[in-house]
Symmetry: C2
Amino acid sequence: MSPPFETPQAAEDAFYDALEARNVNLMSQVWDDSPDVACMLPMQPIVHGVEVRSMMRELLRSNVPLDLRVTHIRWVELDDIAIHYVEEHNNAAGIPKGAPGIYATNIYRRRGEAGWTLILHQNSPPPPDGPPPRP
Amino acid sequence: MSPPFETPQAAEDAFYDALEARNVNLMSQVWDDSPDVACMLPMQPIVHGVEVRSMMRELLRSNVPLDLRVTHIRWVELDDIAIHYVEEHNNAAGIPKGAPGIYATNIYRRRGEAGWTLILHQNSPPPPDGPPPRP
């Protein structure tokens, strides 16, 4: 799997493949080459631009367990922008079974022949004990 | 302040004004009229489409304290899509002073004369004790 990614789904597959395979080169190719990109991992500071690649490189080279199962929630397609809502479950050893998933929003941008690249990855923890009564 | 909102910033101002004034009608006008819209409040289930308006109405009519100060992080402008990263601090009585802010990503879409409307509001809690060492 290599760029240019011809669909947002191809870019998304490459993103999660790069996480699972701890493939720094592929991960770097998934991200748009722009100061606008942003990444918000769970309970982590927001990271922008070139720092996203650095942070991803550190994550992939760390011993943080990463064995994600990704559940599709919804695609939103808007011309040259695609927004994907998913839920990520970490199946890695050491992560409690039945731990709640983490919401993720991935936004992809198309730039002509450069294809689709990732411009935002944002996680939000859902309620730990399932859906609570709404406020 | 009323629609159509001629800029993403006008839509954003209306969103936070509606929260502060608990103005259900204005809040309803801020959101795009589409099944694609989504809202992820902190530690809450993801909500889509017409349910977003219902959930917002319940929130505004609840006794959840809402006195938000919003700090700008970054704007991303992409033709008919605008992405805004902000940090929200809740200054309401009962919220501990110095509590960490909450990241929010707001995505706006332009639809011709209908102007700019909100299609995504997503919160992510940042680390409670400030930036930790990265993984």
